[in-house]
Symmetry: D2
Subunit: 127 residues, 4 copies
């Protein structure tokens, strides 16, 4: 993940299963907006990373790929320091789309943001 957006923002995937994932990022300047709190885009990006990584891993053995289709993140509480903890769970596993929900909490366990990510499943391009 080093030379990608995940690396630039310091995202860490801690656990990936077929229907859940756990991750984390530290609150450094790279994820802050100018007022000093975590940029809303950091939550959205982390949710996208988690949904993509998990779905991709699951469908690739069947000759499919996973493509992000939609990401809807709501911001509940600002975080200025510490780390942001993310838990993803799969809500839907269809033939052509998967849906994930991701909860974000701060170091005190308070809910800070929630995301719904829809992944489209497509046949892998012939290479």
């Amino acid at each position: 993940m080093r030379s990608t957006l995940d690396g630039a923002l310091g995202f860490k995937l801690l656990e990936v299963t077929e229907d859940s994932a756990r991750g984390r990022f530290d609150v450094t300047d790279a994820v802050r907006q100018p007022m000093g709190i975590v940029h809303g885009g950091a939550y959205a990006a982390m949710a996208e990373t988690m949904a993509s990584a998990t779905t991709y891993k699951a469908v690739q053995p069947e000759g499919s790929i996973a493509v992000g289709q939609s990401n809807h993140t709501s911001f509940l509480r600002p975080v200025a320091d510490g780390a942001v903890h993310a838990e993803a769970r799969r809500r839907h596993r269809g033939r052509t789309s998967w849906i994930w929900e991701v909860d974000f909490t701060d170091d005190q366990g308070r809910l800070c943001a929630i995301a719904r990510v829809t992944m489209a499943i497509r046949p892998a391009p012939a290479s």
Copy 2:
């Protein structure tokens, strides 16, 4: 914008008015996901930056602040190279919330992603 998420991802705000904004980011590794295309979170983050900057600038003189409340981005077409161009326009200016829509296009002018961002307007904290 240097030492923030905007800087880490290379976002550029080119023009900001009260009801529109234009921006851009180059497709470098810092905005790519592992497959080599632009990470969905980059579009969401750019939309958030544009909506925040414009709203903040407009409401601050009245003693208010703008806080991101919701970001819904849909991904239409992958981009692997060149630059991503963003145009934001304000759809709603309420007393307590503003809504922005952002269109993203590639260097050929093709629509790649669309975002709807809701900003909450709050009284500035007394300092």
Copy 3:
């Protein structure tokens, strides 16, 4: 609820607490689209009804009202017969906004749709 949209579509609220709600509607023609399955708008409307009723009941004693701000419903599985069962739970209780998530299941308990509803809390208009 008789002479409102709730009545026209046959919505039933079975239980309302401060942080959850249960409801149901039968699959009659009034909630179907032309192909014979439940219209997507029926799920969205039921989610809106549940979030509004619960939030309103909670904030009214404090002199506030609740106003729907945003409704995002995803459709997972078509339903053609029987009843649709809805369970709402509150994800966020802020000073100015509440967020609800609603799960919809069919008679076999399969997840059919999910909704996120954001309610804005406002001071009740002086009358």
Copy 4:
């Protein structure tokens, strides 16, 4: 549209092309919530109807069907009387998904709600 949700709520489709649509509904009790204003679900349902009807009409000749996947409606201004006017325009025409945006205005032309609807395109079931 008589014996469906569209009929129950009084929806009227006035014009349908491949990339746009116009519709209307009168503000009767059937679309009101208990406070006397238009129920948020009425906007969401109307957007769903318009996106479905237009997409279905376009893809059916090619042996495909259109299925609602996601509906995100934001509410900007309450409407208590008169009619609600809806204009839909297609933002994306992909092989497997179409995206529509719908603007709702009141009789004075003021923007009251906006919706983004994603339709999935699937092969028609063999019958």
